[in-house]
Symmetry: C2
Subunit: 166 residues, 2 copies
């Protein structure tokens, strides 16, 4: 079996949040792959994740339903692409379960994305990288303006705080 | 690790060619995953496959360039999704290499597809299943009218004849 692909970043098409986190990869993995735990931290407050379904294998379903403070409902369905325990989780909204091509582009960015959480052990915990890959500059820009760095950063803060509270 | 997903067929959205082939899974796998061999059988004559690039791992590039008898050029780029030796090869044109969402829908079906070659040992060789998954009935119908069953069937005949000639 060949080694997994790397994710060389294209600064015009990709967004990346990189941080050293003082949790071991195993705890971050658990937070990302346990639906009941993910619901506790996944949305920056005051948004809440009210449903989460995971079939944790390539082609398996990954669905989250998020509610906003004004009654907004974001129901995002996709599928996992790579599931390598404690190392990498890759998924997309370009497919539904079973790799079926999606028909409705993500309304927030008017397109589709692939996301990867990459974890590596680090002397004080983990090197955490969250990468989001787009098909065009306009979709990448839309995602950035939507508050990618702030949103994913706050979610990571919430993840860390929650895992430390357990 | 969970077991790989199954591919339940939706008759309105999916196409399937299923056949017993008198070659062992290993030989069919070799024909599908060796660029120089794939070029010998992949296109129903008089079309020819003139280029083939494979990075045989999830997220890796799969590109074929096919020339038609009237000078047509079909340059199809996608990426692999699952590579399980001698058992299953899954790829899509909804992504370029590295799972980057594609911007140009496949012109033949006005959309994207995911394809899976599934191989199982059989007493007289292999059970061969080629499945193509679409996002809508119109794309599935377009692919069917394009001659999916005939085209993939002839290609399989060519694969078998070529592997037996080696």
């Amino acid at each position: 079996m060949n080694t997994p692909i790397s994710f060389p970043l294209d600064p015009k098409l990709d967004l990346c949040l990189e941080r050293i986190v003082d949790l071991p990869p195993e705890k971050i993995w658990k937070a990302w792959t346990t639906p009941s735990i993910l619901m506790e931290w996944f949305c920056p407050l005051p948004w809440k994740t009210v449903q989460c379904e995971m079939d944790l294998r390539p082609g398996g379903k990954f669905r989250t339903v998020m509610n906003g403070p004004e009654g907004e409902v974001h129901d995002v369905s996709g599928c996992f692409l790579e599931v390598i325990q404690n190392q990498r989780l890759v998924w997309t909204d370009a497919f539904g379960p079973g790799y079926r091509p999606s028909k409705e582009p993500n309304p927030c960015i008017n397109g589709f994305f692939t996301a990867a959480i990459l974890l590596e052990p680090h002397e004080t915990g983990s090197l955490y990288r969250a990468i989001v890959i787009h098909g065009s500059e306009s979709e990448c820009e839309a995602h950035k303006k939507l508050g990618f760095h702030e949103g994913w950063g706050i979610a990571l803060d919430q993840l860390v705080a929650h895992m430390k509270s357990l």
